[in-house]
Subunit: 82 residues, 2 copies
């Protein structure tokens, strides 16, 4: 897991989408964490856009949600935002 860093608009957008995917599946932070190799306290931080996660965590979250990794990026994001 990457260390905590400054929030960025992209991290925040990713986090909001992750939260949507998780809650649509009626999973708590803890339940999602139990399905993948990401600490449950970090899931909350990722959803708030506080962590600049690595590809390995993207894959873990995809496994935990049982979605293709690309679905984690299926949100609108304006490239000019940052």
């Amino acid at each position: 897991m990457a260390k905590k860093q400054t929030k960025t608009a992209f991290q925040v957008a990713f986090g909001k989408h992750l939260e949507k995917l998780r809650t649509e599946r009626d999973l708590s932070y803890r339940q999602l964490a139990q399905r993948c190799d990401v600490d449950f306290s970090n899931i909350s931080k990722i959803e708030k856009g506080e962590i600049n996660i690595q590809l390995s965590s993207v894959l873990q979250l995809a496994k935990g949600l049982n979605v293709n990794p690309k679905q984690l990026f299926e949100f609108e994001f304006d490239l000019d935002k940052e």
Copy 2:
């Protein structure tokens, strides 16, 4: 940029797709690097699946290629592979 790590099937798949997007645009490593905040020597390593990059680098590569970040993940990947 995250430190160099062990190759994983997901990193390799991501890297191959990145190479496809870059070469489709007739961009060299150096040309892509000039368009984004990623060192040109790292672009080669990312394409080989040698770096577990962070969300910030995903965004930079998307900017350099002028694609939506989600397009960087539009490749097939079997979750059971790792």
